[in-house]
């Protein structure tokens, strides 16, 4: 197909009309007859043994349905990777906000008081709150050594590089937790009857994760569990794993009461109890030549996983693979570990480990540049990955990617050189300092390594009686445009109108398991499957003689109607098959980590006001190569939205922890950017051609989360000539650092961590 009609056009969002008219049905908009409301009684301590539970007086307890761990029909765990997380704590708690009991009542106003009157006595156990405390092993809170997972990536001969180095550059970088802060809080409704089993409707990303978790928890066969996604008001990874917990709770209450049960979290509960982005620490030690070439390096990447395994091994994996950035490392050793602490488990959030390790990499590049005496631009130029070279996992870059060209274009679009010069002159005077910073990065699309092969996703496309075609996938829509783009792909593939293609609600009773909606995989992986399933429909129609080889959309509709009238509706399936030449070794963590990478260069311009110590971003140029852009409006929306979250991550959003509990779990004290806080965000796409996804598309959703933090902090360093190696960076952090710097008088060039040989 040479010119596309529908792919590449900004068609209206499939569910857009319902959204702009207020008709879209989210979980809290749904009510069932005879429904109860559920609430969760949670741990107030980070770690301890439950000694006694007292139900307070003044409450008509006989009106309540009460569920404890004893009521669980199956296994008391939320199945995911390792089955260590209980659905309800049984005798011991390992983090604040851990669920202990469930209550349900017909009047939702009766619940808060009842929850408050339940008092739980604990025998406290010593708790661990940081990566450092966890690795000290003074207190073992998980497994043998507090370690959920480790990875070791080795390439070349790292031990041999140090003596050849002209410089050895060291640095340590940290990132904080971040709340996803979807505007729709989590929620579920469950029903149970012995005939049909458990059905749950909810706000969620991964219907089949929940399906599997409920089978184990409720001890039910696959056909007695049904999970239906309602319209979902934002997710960003935050509704990947925790919804299994809430679905489990609603299901347990429904089983015990025999009535429908609705659980809707309020903002405080959602922020305090559900997952956040993993806090991280990255250490770099890099051997560099006088000319600024990286000879090799050691990278140590550690994340704080919270109290249970959940998704930490996978987040760690992505962070590990991205730790080397878009650079060529002839020799490298990456050691990564996910550590246990007594905080609620940290989890999936757009970027999934990569924003953390890429922040470190891109800050470290600045440090290398300073040590070698090159500009931030030149140091990157000299180390960019080239086609034919290999990544840290020894994946050969086969795409014709040209990172220097990408960098040059970004510099031009942002007027980098002129601004850089002007700022350094202007900054000599006044209390407001300007700076400009660059970040170059990559983001792998799809599951890591053998992930896609293990998932073995299936999709269906159905020919309907009215002559239209329907897509059936478990991929969910939560704002990104899943429904729209998959329908575009099918319409384009079959030569139909966009309106001739519809998509089924993500309901495990009806759609096959096309895998979770995560990892920027939907368009690239599921899109490609949907394309081949659609071709199956065409083939059936043409081989039966119902349809000519070349046809109009109207002729297709008629052929489809006639065929279905004669033979009934039919479906065409496609299942993922890994290309045979893709090699991945899970043991050595080596090989083709991702089917494709998206590439980007972002340039941020900031002003730091030295009277308020606040940073404002004045301009952000975001240039990326994401393969073919299937829907320009949606693609731009993904990039801008991700950047806004990235700016929040960098400059606004600080989770304040006390004994493992988030203290600022409200929108009034956890601050996300408003429309008045954001700079002009200028988005540009470069198409360099990639053959992986449907119509050449690669993943796009997570990429924009990686760039803002390093480009902004690099710009802040440019403005102040003072180094900042941790985010979030709030005015008080700048104040404190400047106060200490002015005492020690050490600028970035003289700071420690550098050895000359």
């Amino acid at each position: 197909m040479t010119s596309n009609r529908i792919v590449g056009a900004s068609v209206p969002r499939k569910e857009g009309r319902d959204k702009v008219t207020g008709r879209a049905q989210y979980i809290d908009d749904m009510t069932l007859p005879n429904m109860l409301y559920g609430a969760t009684v949670r741990s107030r301590v980070p770690r301890g043994k439950i000694k006694k539970i007292t139900f307070g007086s003044g409450i008509a307890w006989n009106e309540f349905v009460i569920v404890s761990a004893k009521d669980i029909p199956g296994k008391n765990c939320i199945v995911l990777i390792v089955d260590d997380q209980p659905c309800l704590a049984d005798g011991i708690v390992n983090h604040p906000e851990e669920p202990i009991l469930l209550l349900a009542h017909p009047d939702r106003h009766a619940l808060p008081k009842a929850v408050d009157t339940i008092s739980i006595e604990y025998e406290p156990l010593p708790a661990v709150f940081t990566i450092e405390e966890s690795e000290e092993h003074r207190e073992i809170i998980w497994g043998k050594d507090n370690t959920f997972k480790t990875y070791l990536v080795e390439k070349g001969d790292i031990d041999g590089v140090w003596e050849k180095a002209d410089y050895i550059v060291e640095g340590e970088y940290r990132t904080g937790a971040q709340e996803q802060l979807y505007i729709e809080n989590n929620g579920m409704i469950a029903t149970y009857d012995p005939e049909r089993g458990v059905t749950v409707w909810g706000s969620l990303q991964c219907p089949y994760y929940i399906h599997k978790a409920l089978m184990t928890l409720c001890n039910l066969p696959a056909d007695k569990v049904r999970v239906v996604q309602m319209e979902t008001g934002g997710a960003f990874g935050g509704k990947e794993e925790y919804p299994s917990m809430i679905a489990g709770h609603a299901a347990l209450l429904a089983i015990k009461s025999g009535r429908p049960v609705k659980i809707i979290y309020d903002r405080m509960e959602d922020m305090a109890a559900t997952t956040k982005r993993h806090p991280s620490r990255t250490r770099h030690r890099t051997a560099v030549t006088k000319g600024g070439k990286i000879l090799g390096g050691e990278i140590e990447f550690a994340v704080d996983g919270g109290a249970y395994t959940t998704l930490s091994p996978v987040v760690l994996s992505r962070g590990t693979i991205h730790a080397g950035g878009p650079y060529y490392w002839p020799n490298v050793r990456i050691r990564a570990k996910a550590m246990a602490t007594n905080a609620p488990p940290h989890g999936a959030f757009r970027g999934f480990g990569a924003p953390q390790s890429l922040f470190a990499m891109e800050r470290h590049m600045e440090r290398i540049a300073q040590v070698v005496g090159l500009s931030p631009i030149e140091i990157r130029r000299r180390n960019f990955l080239q086609p034919g070279q290999t990544t840290t996992t020894e994946q050969t870059i086969r795409e014709a990617i040209d990172l220097e060209k990408l960098l040059d274009r970004a510099l031009e679009l942002s007027n980098y050189h002129a601004k850089k010069q002007r700022f350094s002159k202007d900054n000599r005077m006044g209390t407001s300092k300007k700076g400009i910073g660059v970040a170059a990065f990559l983001h792998g699309a799809g599951f890591t390594g053998s992930g896609e092969r293990n998932l073995s996703s299936v999709v269906d496309v159905e020919a309907c009686a009215d002559g239209s075609v329907r897509v059936l996938v478990s991929s969910t829509e939560f704002g990104q445009g899943t429904k729209t783009v998959l329908c575009q792909i099918v319409a384009e593939t079959l030569g139909l109108e966009y309106d001739d293609v519809t998509i089924a609600q993500a309901d495990t009773g009806e759609v096959p398991n096309s895998g979770p909606t995560v990892a920027s995989r939907t368009v690239m992986v599921v899109g490609k499957l949907v394309q081949s399933a659609a071709l199956g429909i065409k083939q059936t129609l043409t081989t039966s003689g119902a349809l000519e080889r070349s046809y109009s959309p109207a002729e297709f509709r008629t052929a489809c109607q006639n065929y279905v009238a004669a033979h009934g509706t039919f479906r065409s399936s496609a299942r993922f098959e890994a290309p045979s030449d893709v090699f991945w070794d899970d043991e050595k963590y080596r090989g083709e980590a991702y089917a494709a990478f998206a590439w980007a260069v972002y340039v941020a311009e900031v002003t730091v006001d030295l009277s308020t110590y606040s940073v404002s971003v004045n301009d952000l140029v975001a240039l990326q190569e994401v393969g073919k852009v299937l829907h320009p409006v949606l693609a731009r929306g993904q990039i801008v939205g991700g950047i806004a979250q990235g700016i929040g991550y960098t400059l606004y959003e600080k989770v304040i922890w006390q004994n493992g509990r988030m203290q600022n779990s409200q929108m009034t004290n956890y601050i996300m950017p408003t429309s008045a806080d954001l700079p002009p965000i200028r988005v540009f796409f470069e198409e360099m051609g990639n053959i992986h996804g449907a119509f050449g598309a690669k993943g796009i959703g997570e990429l924009p989360m990686d760039g803002p933090a390093p480009s902004i902090i690099n710009a802040v360093e440019d403005a102040l000539q003072v180094r900042f190696d941790a985010i979030p960076l709030l005015p008080e952090d700048i104040f404190e650092k400047l106060a200490t710097e002015s005492i020690s008088k050490s600028g970035p060039h003289s700071a420690g961590g550098v050895q000359s040989q």
């Binding site: 900004s10 209206p12 969002r13 569910e15 857009g16 009309r17 959204k19 702009v20 008219t21 207020g22 008709r23 879209a24 049905q25 989210y26 809290d28 908009d29 609430a39 009047d107 939702r108 106003h109 009766a110 619940l111 808060p112 008081k113 996803q180 802060l181 979807y182 505007i183 729709e184 809080n185 319209e231 979902t232 008001g233 934002g234 960003f236 309020d266 903002r267 939560f478 704002g479 990104q480 445009g481 409006v633 731009r636 929306g637 801008v640 939205g641 991700g642 950047i643 806004a644 979250q645 409200q666 929108m667 009034t668 996300m672 408003t674 429309s675 008045a676 954001l678 002009p680 965000i681």
Partner: protein, 167 residues
């Protein structure tokens, strides 16, 4: 929970107001939030609860022409008021120009902030039919959106202004 106002067992009162041009009468506790009355008594679920503390604006409705956070309005205050919710904006199947523009220019992603955002934009255009981008940024800054980064919402509002000027 989102509110410490309990309706359990307390006296209810009857009061009337106009919603989307229709006169409605409800029997509820006088401190019940307007948001709950709209959503639960009147089945108008377009207004959403994002925070229950006046921060996010996803519960925005128009009350006597003013933009209010319905999570902060006790129903007693809405007595005899004229209320417009997102459900009252389209004329039948015909979308209002803001709705049309949000649909075409990417103003709605997950859609949860959209009803409040469109009402806030409509309120802005009532006061200021020719807003600059700066006016739009300011005018919508009481409504949080986590998906869009706002840029395409500004685009949509600006397009709606142009669209209105043409018709």
């Amino acid at each position: 929970m989102t509110t410490n106002i309990s309706s359990g067992g307390r006296a209810k009162c009857e009061l009337s107001f106009t919603v989307n041009g229709e006169r409605r009468t409800v029997r509820v506790h006088p401190m019940e939030r307007l948001l709950d009355v709209l959503r639960q008594e009147l089945a108008l679920t377009g207004a959403k609860e994002g925070c229950a503390e006046g921060e996010c604006g996803s519960c925005s409705v128009l009350m006597d022409g003013a933009l209010v956070n319905s999570c902060l309005v006790p129903i007693l205050q809405a007595k005899s008021a004229n209320i417009v919710t997102i459900e009252g904006l389209a004329a039948g199947a015909q979308l209002n120009c803001l709705q049309e523009a949000f649909l075409d220019f990417g103003g709605a992603q997950c859609g949860i902030c959209t009803p409040g955002m469109i009402l806030a934009a409509s309120h802005l255009l009532q006061r200021n039919p020719q807003p600059t981008i700066g006016d739009i940024r300011e005018g919508l800054s009481g409504n949080l959106c986590r998906c869009t980064g706002y840029v395409q919402i500004f685009d949509a509002v600006a397009k709606a202004v142009q669209f209105k000027a043409r018709t």
